[in-house]
Amino acid sequence: MFLLDAPVTAKRQVARDMFVIAMDAPEIATSVRAGQFVNLGWSPGPLLRRPFSVYRVDHGRIEIVLKAVGDGTAQLLAMRVGDRLSCVGPLGHGFDLMSGLRSVVLISGGLGVAPMPLAAREAKSLGMRVTWVHGARTRDELCSEAEGSDVIWATDDGSKGFAGTAVAAAPDADLVLACGPNRMLSAVAGRWPEALVAVETYMGCGTGVCLGCAVPLRGGGYDRACKEGPVYRAADIDWASLPSDLAYAVTP
């Protein structure tokens, strides 16, 4: 885990209201695994840091993907190249990709694209065939960047690709990885109990001490999205007790 002063190096738009911000964070760029996150702070800014999955990594830079869902993310989106972020990471437990599998399906809903480019890269390096199923409400909310041997688009309104949810559009595979609103992940758990899913919670410290990011487990009790998570085996989560309506959550 590193605490870095990370200058913003670039910003680009990838869908309606959805942006990618790149920053210099060499130590994190070389050590982050798919599904791990960074906790960003800035000054003047909100009291608490904001957690983001690492989206892509390139030459000492990391990228995050975000929408302005509240005051904090709106401030972050107003940052310019050269502005400095305080970056803690890499944090959490990412996707454990076992070798020896032939195929993987990545299912993302809305901002759930965030951990997928790194997951696709790790899966490809293990020799897996990667299919990425990309879902959003409408065509212009679909992230324009995707990679994989196959890409399947799904929109609720049928304006692009499959008309329906990403979960319904997805084929079976040896391994399923998913990220998106908790409601979507709950549907993933119903179809593929062994899927690995990255959940969304509010987070306080991001380092395991505040216990604010509790994830209810099917076996009873809670653990921490920031430490044991944010990636879980879908069947291990008590989906009925995990809030699906976080104030900033994007509906699928």
């Binding site: 885990m1 605490l3 702070g41 909100p46 009291l47 608490l48 840091r49 305080s86 803690v88 919670t201 509010y202 987070m203 306080g204 410290c205 991001g206 380092t207 395991g208 001490v209 505040c210 216990l211 604010g212 990011c213 509790a214 994830v215 209810p216 009873g220 009790g221 809670y222 430490k227 007790s241 995990l242 809030p243 309506d245 976080l246 104030a247």
Partner: protein, 300 residues
Amino acid sequence: MSVVVGGMRLRGPVLAASGTFGYGTEVPLLERRALGGMVSKGIFLRPRKGTAPPRIAETPSGMLNAIGLQGPGVEGLIRDYTPQWAGWDFPVFVNINGESVSEYRELAGRLDGVPGVAGFEINISCPNVEQGGLYFGNDPRAAAAVTEAVRKRTRLPVWVKLTPMVSDIGVIARAVEAAGADALCAVNTFVGMSIDLNAYKPRLSFRTGGLSGPAIRPLAVHLAHQAARAVRIPVIGIGGITRAEDALEFLVAGCAAVQVGTATFVNPRAIAEVHDGIADFLRAKGFTSLAELPRYLPRD
């Protein structure tokens, strides 16, 4: 920079507050050299699973939390954490919690003498189940009864963490001083509520939560000052400290030491920065020790 608090010498005046530092094993970044001591996450006799999410909500310059004192229970604490504490170069105080006087007594008895346990911080902001759920900390007799029960079970330092949700903190402060407390910690979080305007209900599943962070600092400075004026034992100031200047406000207002809490969530170096900043301030003002810092503590 060393200070004596309730008969114990601490190497510095800045401690880590309960619930913001886990059991001291979680945050590798923290610069432990600056720690005067640590107060562990609050513990009950038995394991507790904690409250349902959402457990936290950010508010202007603050955060609400309702974690529900999730924890492994005293036996888990002794098994998994106290052996590590025994090797550390700063003292670890255990924040103890109970639903009855006898639970506090039993906890203190179980932990007294366990290597690694340097003392106790009694959290009296718990409902007294045997007395209709009235909070121990709101009732001078109940607060004193808990303090006395712990006092009789240990010769280690006993600190009492006061709740701000009282009409006169001096009354409670004097009651626990008379019951044998070695020091007071002032103050715990303020009870607050925030509403989700999309769901038309509280943002926390528990409805209310404890408010911490810079939002409460002036309130906490005032209450710590009032407590310090009411008693002879030392007061440890807590509430929204993020920088050395914040800590110095508590110290000038009559506190012997401070605890830093929520700030460590944001800045893993907060404790070291507060500690070093106090030293810089003293040097810049020409003081050779913290004891020379002028205090504003009129006794009426």
